[in-house]
Structure formats: structure tokens, C-alpha cells
């Protein structure tokens, strides 16, 4: 427990506190009156209002679109299911700069909707909402679908036999079992859309602003650190509240359910209704998720003979000091380092959280580990910059800073994947081993490790994919001669000219393929689906 606590204290709490203090403290005096002043501004209240309502609507819309998908993925067997499940998860780990650009092609001018019906949604709030569905579809499919696949369908069938109507059987048997998973998924989507940054900035234009966007503007553009500090604190409180509710629903979900192997519950669809449902979900996935990704690929294929891809190997002397292709190697090596850190810290935390004697404090730590998901990258980035600059923590110019920042977002995924599995290990096995004289380390190696090895690999895969796509904090601290893929894409997009644009699209496609492959490998490993992601 000590290691993860220390890790979060040093690399999360301390930098964030440092930047907040910089904004609110001058010459040793705190200016807490700023909080009231900032809250009194109508602009700020407008931002708060927009942040909240768009998160509510985005969450509702995501549930509406993704729940049928969760059902289909859970209960139906169809060719290409594993590949498709990996594909729908790709958006979740892609950087928003890339996706925002592709998404515009779908709902913007000349996009599919425009050509079919003359409907354009760019710079309307609809574009933001649809993009949020695009990004978070996988959260619902994986969280809800994962549990759904393991619910014993015979329970519902038994209710039907006893005379219940299909609706009633579903409402009284399946729904109560699913409800906590739906609530957990909804809260995660709410958290991600509440703190939405890239989507709102790119698709919303300058008229819409979430708290996260406003923190970025105040810090990075207007340089009003005290306003940024107050907004950071507001976001902190909101995210803390969301996570507290989330932790509560997660605990409720751990009530005993009759679970069975997912492969036994899925079957080929039967009857026109089920085929129509499958078809509907596949069309939704194709239009909403696959199409924007396809647009990226299409734009990367400019000149014949993969000209943009070949251009990546040339040193252009301009944007980078190295050929852009090297970003792939950088990204991979950073992601490996970040994964190692995240798995180590996350596994230690998960083990500590499953201990029988874990008190309330430790259980509260469960929710705290999720906080980095809800704190703005610019806050963390600036925090790193001003707090990790002196011995013994002079890391500011060290390469390790990038994997550390990426690991911060990876750890929550590791913890969430490992916890359910670890909790399922029968305590009596451990006790028996200790009674027979095994050391704690040996107990872990002989009892826990074989059971959690798979979960550990899945967790590592997720941390790896998330690290590959991390943009916000990385762009702050990545060194210029070692840009990561998302950073390289953003820099190429920042220059005029065909080759720069084409190379950005080619690199995005490569990033997408690498993420998809990582997720596909993960799919192969995945048998236990009680995890949340």
C-alpha cells in the first residue's frame, strides 16, 4: 500500500497542489476570496451549466445507443465479433485531435449526413454529443455487456415459464442484476464527458466551453492562474462526488449473482426480431464508429504508392529533428515504460484493496485512485513543471516524466481490471497456504498469480493502449527530439502544406492500427468479463 500511496502523493497530489497554490497564494497569503469572486462571474456559471447539462445528455444518449450494442455483443454469436469489439474500443484510446478531425468529415460539411440529407452538425452541440457517444460507446459495451454475457439466461426463462410476460421477466430478473453495471457505466461516461476537452474544443468551436476547456484557456492562454486554480478546485470537487457515487455502485454490484461462462450464453440470433436488432447495431457501429476511422485511412492514402507513408521516413529538418517515423518507436518505448509503472503501482494497490483487513481508509483509496482520470492534463503538466524541478526530485528534463504522466491515467484501468478478479480468489486458499508454512510472497506466487495472470495481462494491455494515446500531459513534457505519435500528429497538423497534412493522417492511421492490434490481443486473452473496461 505504501508504494502506490507514495506514488500518487509525489506524482499527482503534490504537483496538482503546487499549481493550485501558485494560483491562490501570493507572498505567503492565501486568497480564498477568489473562489467567491470567480463563482460570481456569469461566464463561469454559464460554463458550469453547459458542462453539466451536456454531460447528462451525452450520457443518456450514449446509454440509448450503446445498450442495444451491449446486448448484442453479450448474447449473440456472429462472425468477426472479436475484431469488432476491438474496433469499437479504438476511439476510446485515440487522441481527440485526430478523431475530431475525422469526425468533422462525418457530420461536417460535405460529410455523409450532408450528402444524404443536407444535414450539417459542425459547431452545433449535436456534433459534441455524437462525438461523446463515439468515444464512450465502448465503456458501456464493455462494462454492461461484460456482465450481461455472464448472467444465466435460464433465470429469465424460468420467469417466463412461470407466466411472466417477456417485458416483466426482463424487468424483474435481468434488469435488477444489470442495474448496478449500467449505473457504473453511466457514471464513467458522465465523468469522461464532464471533463471533455478535445471534443469540445474542436467540434464545438469557440462558443462552447466545458470546465476542462476553461481551465486550459485560463492557464495556457490568458495566464490567469488564480481563476484556473479555482476552476480546478471546482472540478476536483465535482469529480470527487462522481467517483464517490461510482465507488458505491461498484460495491453494490459485488453482490452475489449467478454467473456463468460467457461463451455458454451467446448464440446465433434467431427470428426476424433478433436479426433486425443485430443488423441495427451493426449499422450504428458502422456509421457512428467505423466510418470516421475509415475517413482517416482514406485521407492518408494520397499520392499513389503510399506517398505519405514513405514521406514519414524522410528527415524533413522542419517539424522535428528526426524523421516522423521515429515517433512510433518513441511511443512504443514510452508506453512500455508507462505500462510497467502502471501495472506495478496498480497491482500493488489492487492487492492492498482486496486484503480482508482493509479498513475504510483503504477502501476510500479505491475511489481516489480514479481521480487522475478527472483532473485536467494541463493542470498536471504545469504542476509537474513547477514541482519536480529540484533535487531530490529533479525530473523535469528526464525522459521518465512522460511515462510517469501516462502511468497516472493507466493505473485506474489496472486497478479496475484486477480488483474483481482478486476479490474472487477464495481467501481460504491463501489461508491454507500460510498455515502450511508458505511465506506471503510464496502465497501470492502460488495462489494468486496463476489466477490473476490473465487479468494482469489484460490490465497491461489497457494501460499500454491508454499510454499510446495520451496526449494532453505528454504534449507538455515530451522532448522535441522524441515526439510520441499523438504529439507528432498534432505538430504536423499545425503546419500548412499537403505533405504535412498527409503525414499527419498517415501517422494517425498507424496509431489507430497499433491501438487496434493491442486491443485485439487483449480480446484473445479475455475470458473473464467481470472487469469494468
Amino acid at each position: 500500500m505504501a508504494v502506490p500511496v507514495a506514488f500518487f502523493a509525489v506524482f499527482f497530489a503534490y504537483p496538482v497542489a503546487a499549481i493550485v497554490a501558485r494560483g491562490l497564494k501570493t507572498d505567503g497569503t492565501w486568497h480564498l476570496g477568489r473562489i467567491g469572486e470567480v463563482l460570481a462571474q456569469s461566464d463561469v456559471r454559464h460554463v458550469l451549466w453547459f458542462t453539466t447539462w451536456q454531460a447528462f445528455v451525452s450520457t443518456a444518449l450514449t446509454l440509448l445507443v450503446a445498450l442495444p450494442g451491449a446486448y448484442v455483443f453479450a448474447r449473440f454469436d456472429f462472425p468477426g465479433k472479436q475484431v469488432l469489439r476491438a474496433v469499437v474500443t479504438v476511439p476510446f484510446v485515440l487522441p481527440t485531435v485526430v478523431v475530431g478531425t475525422a469526425f468533422l468529415a462525418l457530420v461536417g460539411r460535405g460529410g455523409l449526413l450532408d450528402e444524404l440529407w443536407g444535414v450539417r452538425l459542425d459547431t452545433t452541440v449535436w456534433a459534441i454529443l455524437l462525438a461523446h457517444v463515439f468515444f464512450n460507446y465502448a465503456v458501456v459495451v464493455r462494462t454492461v455487456g461484460g456482465l450481461w454475457a455472464q448472467l444465466d439466461p435460464r433465470q429469465e426463462e424460468a420467469a417466463r415459464m412461470l407466466g411472466a410476460s417477456p417485458l416483466r421477466a426482463w424487468r424483474q430478473v435481468t434488469l435488477p442484476a444489470l442495474a448496478p453495471a449500467v449505473a457504473a457505466a453511466a457514471l464513467m461516461v458522465f465523468l469522461f464527458t464532464f471533463t471533455s476537452f478535445g471534443v469540445v474544443q474542436i467540434l464545438g468551436g469557440p462558443t462552447f466551453s466545458t470546465l476542462e476547456v476553461e481551465i486550459y484557456r485560463q492557464t495556457s492562454e490568458i495566464f490567469d492562474l488564480s481563476t484556473a486554480a479555482v476552476l480546478t478546485m471546482i472540478q476536483f470537487v465535482a469529480v470527487g462526488a462522481i467517483l464517490a457515487v461510482h465507488a458505491w455502485t461498484v460495491r453494490r454490484r459485488e453482490t452475489a449473482l449467478r454467473l456463468m461462462d460467457a461463451s455458454a450464453t451467446a448464440r446465433r440470433p434467431r427470428g426476424a426480431g433478433q436479426w433486425a436488432l443485430l443488423g441495427g447495431v451493426l449499422v450504428t457501429v458502422a456509421v457512428l464508429l467505423v466510418l470516421p476511422l475509415a475517413v482517416l485511412v482514406q485521407r492518408s492514402l494520397g499520392p499513389p504508392g503510399f506517398g505519405y507513408y514513405r514521406a514519414l521516413t524522410r528527415e524533413d529538418g522542419g517539424v522535428f529533428l528526426v524523421p516522423p517515423i521515429e515517433a512510433i518507436g518513441n511511443s512504443l518505448s514510452y508506453a512500455v515504460a508507462a505500462t510497467l509503472i502502471a501495472v506495478l503501482i496498480g497491482a500493488l494497490a489492487a492487492v492492498a484493496l482486496t486484503r480482508r483487513d482493509a479498513g475504510r481508509f483503504v477502501r476510500g483509496f479505491d475511489a481516489l485512485l480514479m481521480l487522475p482520470l478527472g483532473v485536467s492534463a494541463v493542470t498536471v503538466g504545469f504542476g509537474f513543471l513547477i514541482s519536480l524541478d529540484e533535487p531530490p526530485l529533479d525530473l523535469r528534463s528526464s525522459w521518465i516524466l512522460v511515462p510517469l504522466a501516462q502511468a497516472l491515467v493507466g493505473v485506474p484501468f489496472v486497478v479496475r481490471t484486477m480488483l474483481p478478479v482478486l476479490r474472487a480468489v477464495d481467501v481460504r486458499l491463501r489461508e491454507a497456504a500460510s498455515v502450511l508454512g508458505a511465506s506471503p510472497w510464496r502465497v501470492w506466487r502460488e495462489v494468486d498469480l496463476p489466477m490473476v495472470r490473465r487479468a494482469l495481462l489484460i490490465a497491461a494491455g489497457f494501460a499500454f493502449a491508454v499510454s499510446l494515446g495520451e496526449f494532453g500531459a505528454t504534449v507538455f513534457i515530451a522532448r522535441p527530439d522524441r515526439p510520441t505519435l499523438p504529439v507528432a500528429v498534432a505538430r504536423l497538423l499545425g503546419r500548412p502544406g499537403d505533405l504535412n497534412y498527409g503525414q499527419a493522417m498517415a501517422l494517425s492511421t498507424i496509431l489507430m492500427v497499433v491501438c487496434a492490434v493491442a486491443l485485439l490481443v487483449l480480446e484473445r486473452l479475455r475470458t473473464d468479463r467481470t472487469g469494468e473496461f
Binding site: 528534463s397 525522459w399 497534412y501
Partner: protein, 345 residues
């Protein structure tokens, strides 16, 4: 992979530790220089150059100010005239008059009594137009700010958010210089009535909305006028394969606002001697002539040659709008605020 990681670790030794053999440059993402030019400086001066690029220009300045007590490097390059006062007021730089400062064209010199900053390059923010669109529709492309509010150009212009993007801010300052403190607001009212579209950043405006750029063509952009740089047309030629015989875009010469970028020796720099040598280097003929094709800006040194592509496809505006950094400092925040409520709300 392990090899790359090991390399990451080893090449960092000495970086940031302030040893006298390394000079560290802090800059924004657009910094670029030819390898052989840097190598020549390293050989001649005996210093190894380390570069830290820190996001966009505004972000880089803000980060430098935050870390000024324990700076990340010795020299900062890339604060422009719109942000200069923020850097100077916060004491980011220490005085040093670079060798060759007497060769800087007079109009770019500022802070003459203290020499806290050295002008390095200049560029114009101008409305670019899509040549094909105007040829196809048989209308003349606009030439001036006044033209942009004419009915012929209704719904054709896309610009950037002045509070978030430096070309967006430059364009606003250009109109303020042209129409004065009292006139610019009514000009923007007319521009708004004429259908100007505002997006958040240059990337979207140029690569998504503008019909004349390579990216915009692929994205089916439908706005033939965009606020960008005078050097964007040559970039469209240089970064094309095969290279076209003429630039697909042009510049409306009467809509330009001149940007000047400065460098300075950071306060508390650990290697001030090396930093001074590097500032001298930035003003040498060799660096000044290398700069245009790398950063798409113009030299400030008298007699420095600009590449033929620049002369051919993107000549510098003859009479751009300019503004004293002190005036920008006094008005920037208020102007941006009024502009936001006028144009965005």
C-alpha cells in the same frame, strides 16, 4: 525497444544540469533549424545545443514565466510582439545586446535602452485566398479590410478565435490598427453581418474550413478566405509532391498585420555565456538565411537573402499594419473581451 529506452536515459545526462558545455534553448513547437547550421555553431563555439519545445507560442511563454526562478534553459526564443509585455513585465529576461544587433532593420528594434530582447524574425498575418475559387466564380479576390465586408464576399471568410489563437489575435489587432480604438468594433459588426465564421484554432480554419489548402481540399472545406500567414502560399508549394508551378493560394495584401518574434537570455540562466553566444548566432547571416525555409518567417537582418520560393509565391506585404507592443499590452485583454462578446455571443 529496450535499446531506445536506454538511449533515452543516456543522452539526457548533462542536459539541464547547467554544465558549461551545453546551451539549452527553450522555444515553441514551430522552432526549426537545419542540422548543419546548428552543427556549425556547435563546432565553432564549442557548445552543444539542446532544444526544448514547449507547445504553442503562448503556452511556451507562460511556462517560461512559471519556471523563471529555475529556468529550463538559457535562451528563450519565440515571444512575439503580442505577448512581449507579459514576458518583460514578469522579468523573464536579463539584458544582453547581441553582436550584430546593429544590423537589425530599424523598424524591428524595441527595448533599445535595456536590450532585454533581440528581434529574430518577422512574418505577416494575412487573409489568404483560394485562387481557383475566385477564378471559377469570376470575382476578384479581396485586397483590403474594407473589401471583406462587401456583399461579394459574404460567407466566404473563416478566422480564428482571438482569445485562443495567435493568427486570430493578429487579425483582430490588424483591424484595431486600421480602424482605431473607436472604429474596430463597428467594423467587426459589419464583418459578422457579412457571415464571418470563427473557429477555435488555426488547424481547423486552415485544414478543415479553407478550400484552398491541401488539407482543406481533402476535407472539402468551403470557405475560400482564411486568416493565415503571408508565408502559407510558399508552404503549399514547398510541401507538395509533385511541386505545382504556381501557388494554389494568394495573399490579400491589405489585410496584413506584422508579427515580430524575439529571443532573450533567461534570468537565472545557468550558462549565460553560452546563452549569449547563441543569441549572437541567431543574428548571423547564416542562421538568418536558413530560417525562412524552416520556420516560414522572414529574416530581420539587413541584407539577408530570402529564398526564391518566398519571393515568387509569398512576397512580404508592402504596407502591413503594425502596433507598438506597449499599446498591445495596454489594450489586448480589453479588446479580446469586447471582441468575444461582440462576435461570439
Amino acid at each position: 525497444m529496450v535499446g531506445t529506452l536506454a538511449a533515452c536515459g543516456s543522452s539526457d545526462s548533462g542536459q539541464g544540469s547547467g554544465d558549461s558545455k551545453t546551451v539549452t534553448l527553450v522555444s515553441h513547437d514551430s522552432w526549426a533549424a537545419s542540422k548543419d547550421v546548428i552543427a556549425a555553431f556547435e563546432k565553432q563555439s564549442g557548445y552543444k545545443v539542446d532544444v526544448l519545445k514547449d507547445g504553442d507560442a503562448g503556452q511556451a511563454v507562460n511556462k517560461a514565466i512559471l519556471t523563471k526562478g529555475n529556468p529550463q534553459g538559457d535562451v528563450f526564443f519565440g515571444v512575439d510582439n503580442t505577448l512581449l509585455s507579459r514576458a518583460l513585465d514578469n522579468g523573464l529576461f536579463q539584458p544582453y545586446e547581441a553582436k550584430g544587433a546593429d544590423r537589425i532593420k530599424a523598424e524591428y528594434r524595441v527595448d533599445q535602452d535595456k536590450h532585454r530582447v533581440t528581434p529574430v524574425d518577422t512574418g505577416d498575418i494575412c487573409v489568404n485566398y483560394d485562387k481557383k475559387y475566385f477564378a471559377d466564380h469570376k470575382i476578384q479576390p479581396p485586397k483590403s479590410f474594407d473589401d471583406l465586408v462587401k456583399p461579394a464576399y459574404k460567407n466566404l471568410l473563416v478566422t480564428e478565435n482571438a482569445s485562443a489563437s495567435s493568427p486570430g489575435l493578429g487579425f483582430l489587432l490588424g483591424t484595431a490598427a486600421q480602424y482605431g480604438d473607436d472604429g474596430w468594433e463597428s467594423y467587426w459588426k459589419k464583418l459578422k453581418a457579412n457571415g464571418v465564421k470563427v473557429v477555435d484554432g488555426w488547424e481547423q480554419a486552415y485544414n478543415e474550413e479553407f478550400s484552398g489548402s491541401a488539407g482543406g481540399k481533402k476535407a472539402k472545406g468551403d470557405r475560400p478566405l482564411v486568416v493565415s500567414y503571408a508565408s502559407s502560399p510558399p508552404a503549399e508549394v514547398v510541401f507538395a509532391d509533385p511541386k505545382p508551378s504556381t501557388a494554389p493560394t494568394g495573399v490579400a495584401e491589405g489585410t496584413c498585420f506584422r508579427q515580430v518574434e524575439y529571443a532573450g537570455l533567461l534570468s537565472n540562466a545557468k550558462n549565460p555565456t553560452g546563452g549569449k553566444a547563441f543569441l549572437d548566432f541567431l543574428l548571423t547571416q547564416r542562421f538568418q538565411e536558413d530560417m525562412p525555409m524552416n520556420m516560414f518567417v522572414y529574416p530581420v537582418r539587413e541584407g539577408a537573402q530570402v529564398p526564391t520560393e518566398f519571393v515568387k509565391y509569398g512576397p512580404q506585404a508592402k504596407d502591413p499594419e503594425t502596433m507598438d507592443p506597449a499599446k498591445i499590452a495596454d489594450h489586448r485583454d480589453q479588446w479580446v473581451k469586447s471582441w468575444t462578446s461582440l462576435v461570439l455571443k
